[in-house]
C-alpha cells in the first residue's frame, strides 16, 4: 500500500461555492427504514436513534477515521510501540491495532485523519470509506457475537485491549475489544448486509440500534 490511494481519502473532500458535500455511511438506507433521524455533523450524515442501550445494542460508527498501515516489521513496530500481535492501545482518542507483524490499523476521529496520515507517512491508506465500522455493546454482546462468528471472544481469551481478524457473519472482519464493547471493521460494500445480519443474530437478546454517540462514549480504560 502506498499513498497512491490518497485520492480515495474522503478527508480530501472540500466545500466549494454553493456546494457542501456530505458523506454517507453504507447503512443509511437501513437507518431511515428503521425510523432513525439523520443529522449532519462533521461533514457526515449520521443516524440518531432515540432508543437507550439495552441488553445488546449496535451502533453505526462508519464515520470514524480508519487508517490501514503496511510495512516491514520494524516499521510497524515503530508505529505500535513494539506491541504484541493482537494488542490494541488507546491514547488520546486514537486506537492503534497490531494485526500482524507487517500490518496495523488506526481508528481515530475523522477530523484527525489528514494529520495522522501525514505523520505516519509511507505505507498508510485512508480506509475511512473502505471499511464500515460498527460497535456492539451491552451485557449480552458476547452472546450476540458468538451467534455470528466462531471467533472465541470469551473474556479469558479475548480481554479488553485486544484485536483479531476473522470471519463474522462470513465477512472478513477486524474485531477490537474496547472493554465493554466490540468494534468491528468490515469492507464498506458489505456494511449494510453486516448491520442487518448482526441485528438479526441479536433478536433473541433484544438487540436495538442506538446512536453513534452511545458507542463513542468513553468506555473501560485499557
Amino acid at each position: 500500500m502506498s499513498d497512491s490511494f490518497a485520492f480515495l481519502s474522503p478527508a480530501a473532500v472540500r466545500s466549494t461555492d454553493g456546494h457542501r458535500p456530505l458523506l454517507r455511511t453504507p447503512v443509511e438506507r437501513s437507518h431511515i427504514a428503521a425510523g432513525a433521524t439523520i443529522e449532519e455533523a462533521g461533514g457526515w450524515r449520521i443516524a440518531r436513534y432515540d432508543a437507550e442501550p439495552a441488553d445488546a445494542w449496535l451502533a453505526d460508527v462508519s464515520h470514524t477515521g480508519k487508517l490501514d498501515v503496511r510495512g516491514d516489521a520494524a516499521r510497524v513496530d515503530e508505529l505500535t510501540g513494539g506491541a504484541d500481535l493482537g494488542a490494541a492501545s488507546h491514547h488520546d482518542g486514537v486506537w492503534t491495532l497490531r494485526i500482524s507483524p507487517t500490518h496495523a490499523a488506526v481508528i481515530c476521529p475523522f477530523e484527525r485523519v489528514t494529520d495522522l496520515r501525514e505523520r505516519i507517512g509511507a505505507g498508510v491508506t485512508d480506509m475511512t470509506c473502505g471499511w464500515a465500522a460498527f460497535t456492539l455493546g451491552g451485557p449480552a454482546m458476547r452472546e450476540v457475537f458468538m451467534r455470528s462468528s466462531s471467533l472465541d471472544v470469551r473474556e479469558s481469551r479475548f480481554p479488553a485491549g485486544r484485536c483479531m481478524t476473522g470471519s463474522v457473519m462470513r465477512a472478513g472482519t477486524i474485531v477490537l475489544n474496547e472493554g465493554d464493547r466490540f468494534r468491528m471493521l468490515v469492507n464498506w460494500e458489505v456494511g449494510e448486509y453486516f448491520w442487518d445480519a448482526i441485528l438479526d443474530a441479536g433478536v433473541n437478546f433484544g438487540i436495538a440500534p442506538v446512536s453513534a454517540s452511545v458507542a463513542l462514549r468513553e468506555g473501560v480504560a485499557v
Binding site: 466462531s150 471467533l151 462470513r170
Partner: protein
C-alpha cells in the same frame, strides 16, 4: 476381462415427444421418486422428467446424505418418519444398494435453552413413534468418545438429543435407483432439457416451453429446490421463499473412527464419516441470499474453528474439497407441497436444507396427490395456503441448522 465391464444401461435415451400426461421439472431425488411412484402406484405411463443439467446435479448430489426424523412438530416428525421407513427398505424396493447405515444421530445442546428444545423434541418424537431421547454428557461420551465433553470448549456440551435410527445413505445411489426403476416403468428422463416457460390457459396448465421445443401436458410438477421461486414465477405463483447457498466439505479419508452423526445447532455445524472414511462436514445456510455457486474460505474458517473444538483429533485432517448447493427456505422452515391456484401446477418446494431425507415420502405423496386428485393427510399441513390461513408449521427449532 470384457465380461467384467457393465453392459447394461440403466437409462434409455428417448426422443422428446410433443405431449405427455405429466411433466416433472427436476431430475433429482424428488422428481425421480415422484415419477417412479406415479408409474408404479398409479399406472401412469406418459411421464417426462426434464432437467436443465444431468440427473442429481442439484441438491440431490450436494447434500450431506443424512437421514433422520426427530423433528420438532408432530406434523414434521410423522412425515419424516414415513420417509425413514421407506428408506429402510429402499435398497430392496429399487434393487440397488444404497449403502444405508443407521449409526445414530446426536444433536448437541450447549445451553439450558437448547436442552429444553431437545426435551420438547424428544416428547413430540415419542408421541408419534419416533425413537429419540435426551442424553447427558456421560452418555454422550459413551456414545461418541471422540467428542470433547469437558468444560474447555467455548460452548461445553450439556446434553444431546439421541436419535438411534438416524443414518447416512449414498445420495447418488438414491437418484440412480429411482431413475433406473422409473425408466423400467416407462418414464422418460430427459437430461439437459431446460424449461424456459410454462403455458397456462384459463387458469390451467397446458404445457411447457423448453430449449428443445414445446411440450403439451395437463400436469406440471416443480421439483427444483433452490430454483423454485424462478419456476413458479413462470406461472405467476408467488412463493414465500428465499434462496441461500449452503456449503459443505470433506476431509481426506481416514480409518473409521466416528460412527455417530454429530450436529450442533449452536455451533452451526454437523459431521459424519462416510463409508470411504472421509469426514463429511457442513454448516448452516449462508446468512446472505443468492445463487452463487462459489465456495468461500470464510465457511471453512468458521467450520474448522468450531469442529476442532468439538472433535480435537480433526485438527490433523486435511480438507479434500468443498462445494455449495442452493436451498429454498420458507418462513417456518417447513416445506411447501401440493396444489396451487393454477390447475395442474403442483409444487414441491421450500426444502431448505432438509429435502433429501424426505425424497421417498415426497415422491409417494405427490404421486398420490396427482394420481387421486386428493391431498394426502401427511402433506396437508404443508400446503401453500397455510401462509394465508395462519397455520404455520414451525420447525425452526429442529431444522434451522441443517441436519
Amino acid at each position: 476381462m470384457l465380461g467384467l465391464l457393465r453392459k447394461h444401461k440403466y437409462f434409455r435415451p428417448h426422443d422428446l415427444k410433443s405431449s405427455y400426461d405429466v411433466v416433472i421439472i427436476g431430475a433429482g431425488a424428488h422428481g425421480l421418486a415422484t415419477a417412479y411412484y406415479l408409474a408404479k402406484r398409479h399406472g401412469l405411463k406418459r411421464i417426462a422428467v426434464l432437467d436443465k443439467s444431468y440427473m442429481g446435479a442439484g441438491a440431490s448430489g450436494r447434500n450431506t446424505t443424512i437421514i433422520r426424523s426427530n423433528y420438532l412438530t408432530a406434523e414434521g416428525s410423522r412425515f419424516y418418519q414415513e420417509s425413514v421407513k421407506i428408506y429402510e427398505s429402499l435398497s430392496q424396493d429399487l434393487d440397488f444398494n444404497m449403502l444405508f447405515s443407521q449409526h445414530g444421530h446426536l444433536t448437541l445442546a450447549h445451553s439450558d435453552r437448547s436442552l429444553n428444545t431437545m426435551m420438547e423434541r424428544a416428547e413430540v418424537n415419542r408421541l408419534v413413534g419416533v425413537d429419540s431421547r435426551v442424553v447427558y454428557p456421560d452418555e454422550v461420551k459413551e456414545l461418541c468418545p471422540q467428542l470433547d465433553t469437558s468444560d474447555h470448549p467455548t460452548f461445553p456440551i450439556l446434553g444431546a438429543l439421541y436419535h438411534p435410527p438416524g443414518g447416512v445413505i449414498r445420495h447418488d445411489a438414491v437418484v440412480w435407483g429411482y431413475g433406473k426403476e422409473a425408466d423400467k416403468l416407462g418414464v422418460e428422463i430427459h437430461q439437459y432439457t431446460e424449461v424456459t416457460g410454462i403455458n397456462v390457459e384459463n387458469g390451467r396448465v397446458t404445457g411447457v416451453e423448453t430449449n428443445r421445443g414445446t411440450i403439451a401436458c395437463g400436469t406440471v410438477i416443480s421439483c427444483v429446490a433452490g430454483w423454485s421461486t424462478l419456476t413458479c414465477d413462470m406461472v405467476g405463483v408467488p412463493l414465500p421463499l428465499t434462496t441461500h447457498i449452503l456449503q459443505a466439505c470433506v476431509t481426506e479419508p481416514v480409518k473409521p473412527l466416528l460412527d455417530k452423526i454429530i450436529v450442533s445447532g449452536t455451533l452451526h455445524i454437523y459431521i459424519s464419516q462416510s463409508d470411504r472414511g472421509e469426514f463429511v462436514m457442513g454448516s448452516e445456510i449462508e446468512p446472505y441470499s443468492g445463487y452463487s455457486p462459489t465456495s468461500t474460505f470464510r465457511f471453512i474458517e468458521d467450520l474448522a474453528m468450531h469442529m476442532i473444538e468439538l472433535l480435537p483429533m480433526l485438527g490433523h485432517a486435511k480438507i479434500l474439497r468443498q462445494w455449495t448447493g442452493l436451498c429454498d427456505v420458507s418462513p417456518d422452515y417447513s416445506p411447501i407441497m401440493g396444489l396451487t391456484e393454477v390447475d395442474g401446477f403442483i409444487i414441491d418446494a421450500g426444502w431448505g436444507t432438509y429435502g433429501f431425507k424426505a425424497s421417498p415420502i415426497v415422491g409417494r405423496t405427490i404421486a398420490d396427490l396427482v394420481g387421486t386428485g386428493t391431498t394426502p393427510d401427511l402433506i396437508h399441513p404443508f400446503r401453500l395456503a397455510r401462509f394465508y390461513e395462519d397455520e404455520l408449521v414451525s420447525e425452526r427449532g429442529a431444522a434451522a441448522v441443517s441436519h
